[in-house]
Every structure is written in structure tokens, then in C-alpha cells.
Amino acid sequence: MIKPRDPDAEAALEADDIALEVFIHALKLRHGYDFSEYSRASLKRRALELTRKFGVERLGDLIPSTLYEPALVREIVSHLSVPVSSLFRDPEVFLRLREEVLPMLASWPRINIWLAGCAYGEEVYSLAIMLAEAGLTQRSQIYATDFNDYALERAAEGIFNRQNLPEYRRNYMESGGQARLSDYYHARYELMRMRRELLERVVFAHHNLVTDGVFAEAHLIMCRNVLIYFTQPLKDRVLELFADSLVRGGFLVLGNKEALSATSPVADRFELVSATDRIYRLKRDGV
């Protein structure tokens, strides 16, 4: 067997792997943020990015800050929870929502939408725009939740970087948007601020998928690119939570790489609407 070129690298790897577990334990005990059921490989990568951001050498050097500097914790948690999206991300999904799902939602007198893991709010505004364009705003209520309070604050502000505007515009058009995206924001310097009217029917709330329970009688739940970070037991638990939170016939939209696998305990409670866009519907005949 070949020896490692750099025995220190192997020792550091083993130390970092354990430091990651201790770091997770510290976050949980000190602040109640529970990353213990998050996939380790990408969690570790993001923790290592934090070491560079904070100018410390090793992953374990983040632990004292985690324990003693509450002000840093929201930054740590934000970075670990990857709140990255864009307006109308994966426009084909929004196109299908617009063309197939919204018309069916329109059959309900009141439409409750749960955006679980809303991060910085890109999907909140995307959805609010689509509801407005479909004339459904007044009948709808969006509950946008996240376990990261800092992300919730940012989402409520609705300020995004204009450097991504070309992508946002393209996404909007590909999602079937007929207006001009600029109708929905004010540009200022390098920033864009989404119009406040879009939040008319939006409530932001703290909700932790790891620890909290059923959230609402929802007609549509969107939870995209959240489950990929969870271990299988947590995935299963969250999917069950979604099934229990939906009205019969309600819709569930997952991320492009998140399947409701056949082995999921709630698989037989859903029927498939779109395999490519990961849209499911709670069966009307119950469980």
C-alpha cells in the first residue's frame, strides 16, 4: 500500500472530521441549531469555508467563537445552511407551476402556500409575482419559513444583488412571465429592492424542519434544495411532516434533485404530477 505523501494531512483530516462533530454539538447545545442530521461532506466544506472567512486555521478553531460570540452565530448558521437561490430558479418548474398547478389551486376559495426553507426569499417573491399575474393574490396566503432568523430578516427586506439581474430576467421569461421583471423591483445602485406590495399576503415565520411540527393546512408546499442536505431519517420525517400539513389534493414541490423515493414511508400517499419538476400531489382518497 502506498503511504500518504503528507502524514500531517491525514492526521489533520481525522482531527477535522471529529472537530466537525464537536462543532455541531457546540452549535446545538449553545444555540439550539441542530445540524446533526445534515450530510457531512458538504457541511464540512462549508465549515472549512467559514474558517477562511473568520481567518482561523482549523475547523476546530471555530468552536470557541461558536460558544462565546453569539453575534457570529447567525453568520455561521447562515453560511452552514446554504441560503443560495435566484429569482425563478429552474424556470421550467415555475412554468409548470404557472400553467398546471396554479389553475388547479384556483379551484380552492382560499390558497395557503407554505414555502419551507425560504432562505433569502427569492422564491417568495417569484411565487408572489406569479400569483399576482394569475390574479390569485387576494385569495392566497404565503407562509414563508426558515430556521435561520437572519435569513428571514433578509427575506423580508427583499434586497438582491443586481449583478444577477440578467439571469433573473431570463429565468422570469422562461417561466412564462409576460410583464417586465422591472415592474416588480426598484433598482438602486448595485442593488434591487422587491416591491413591498408583493409581501401583502406573505407572513414570515421561524420554523425548524428538524424539530418543529406541522405548520399549516397548506394547498401548496414548496421546499426546494433543502432535503438534499438531510440524512435519510430526517428526509423521511420531513416528508411525513409535509404530507400531514397538506390538504387532500394539495401539491408538494421539491428541488430538481430531490425525489420522493418509492421507499419513502409517505410515497403511497402522493401521486406524481411531474417527474422532471418534482411535483407531487397528496392523494384525495387519503392514506
Binding site: K3, E10, S39, S42, K257, E258
Partner: protein, 193 residues
């Protein structure tokens, strides 16, 4: 560096790497205990087509790497677009929707570094033609943890920047021509365990 005893082969490439990659896949001996993981800079909608193309050159099944799926031997797993691909310690795939790294998602660095952590000296890494610096740091991570590191010799690469970036960063075990890469992969797949 011997070619025996590897459990996984990580291959990264970008512009100009497809043809070389097809040759490499043809070199794979089947059945093998080796698991192959490929990361090109592929846009999300091209993945199905890419797997189809690669399948024609491979005796092993070529499939998109699925979140939570096992990194199975005797298969070629290809990173899809729009997400970073990582390998967990339990040799299963993980995805990350985080920001692009060096303008790339999937990032070769991200894949290589996570595979280096998991397989350590039982990993071989190959970095092919490409027009940017992604993969160099990842290949060095493989090197540090005792894995075998091979770059396509820049003079044979239609876009030499990628192997050159690695050569600037550290001394990989080998610089191989496409033909040598095929020989290497034949040995690695035959002697895998």
C-alpha cells in the same frame, strides 16, 4: 506509483476533454471493483445526453450520480449540472446547491476534495483538458492524502490551462498522453479492489 489497490477513480475535465474521456472509458476493464466518478462542467440539461454519449464508449453502465446513492463499483457516475457533487465518508453521493466555485457548478475541486477525504490512498485522480483552473486544488488534496494523481500532459490537451494549473500547484505523479491515460485506466480498473 503502482496502479494496484485503488477503490475509486475520479476524473475531472472541461473544454476539450470529452474525446479523451471517451478513450479513457474504453480503456476500463469490466467487470471491475473500481468505482468511476466523472465531473465535467456540464450544464444541467445536458446530463442525459452526456451519459448517452459516454455509454457508447464504456463497457460499464454510465449513469448520473444520484443524491444518497452508493458510489458503486463497476459503474461510471457522472455529476449532473447545477449542483456540486460530493462523496460522503460512507461512500454515498451528496449534492450541494451552494454558489458556483470558480464559476463552476459542479466544481471538480469540491468532488475531488471530498473523494480524497473518503478514499485517501485508495483514490486515483485524473485531470484532463480544460480552459480554467478548477480541479487543481482538488487533485493536490488527493496527492496529499496518498492517492495517485495523473494530469493529461498539457501539450496533448486542446485546452491546457487545467492540467497546467495543477502542475503549477504541485508535482502530480504523472503527466500522461491520451494513450498513456488509457493504459493507466486499464491497469487501475484491472487491479482495483
Amino acid at each position: 506509483m503502482s496502479e494496484s489497490g485503488y477503490a475509486a477513480l475520479a476524473i475531472g475535465g472541461s473544454a476539450g476533454s470529452l474525446e479523451v474521456l471517451c478513450g479513457i472509458l474504453e480503456g476500463l476493464v469490466s467487470p471491475t471493483r473500481l468505482a468511476v466518478v466523472v465531473c465535467l462542467h456540464t450544464a444541467s440539461r445536458e446530463i442525459g445526453e452526456l451519459c448517452t454519449v459516454l455509454s457508447r464508449h464504456s463497457a460499464l453502465p454510465v449513469i448520473e450520480a444520484q443524491e444518497s446513492a452508493a458510489v458503486a463499483p463497476n459503474q461510471v457516475h457522472v455529476a449532473g449540472g447545477g449542483y456540486h457533487l460530493l462523496v460522503e465518508r460512507a461512500a454515498t453521493f451528496a449534492l450541494c446547491a451552494g454558489p458556483r466555485i470558480q464559476y463552476a457548478r459542479p466544481s471538480i475541486d469540491v468532488l475531488f476534495e471530498s473523494m480524497a477525504d473518503t478514499y485517501r490512498r485508495r483514490l486515483a485522480g485524473m485531470l484532463l483538458s480544460g480552459a480554467n483552473g478548477d480541479g487543481a486544488a482538488g487533485l493536490r488534496a488527493i496527492h496529499r492524502l496518498g492517492g495517485l494523481t495523473i494530469v493529461q500532459s498539457p501539450e496533448t490537451a486542446s485546452a491546457p490551462e487545467m492540467p497546467q494549473a495543477a502542475l503549477k500547484l504541485f508535482a502530480p505523479d504523472r503527466q500522461n498522453t491520451p494513450d498513456q491515460l488509457i493504459d493507466a485506466v486499464r491497469g487501475i480498473s484491472r487491479l482495483a479492489r
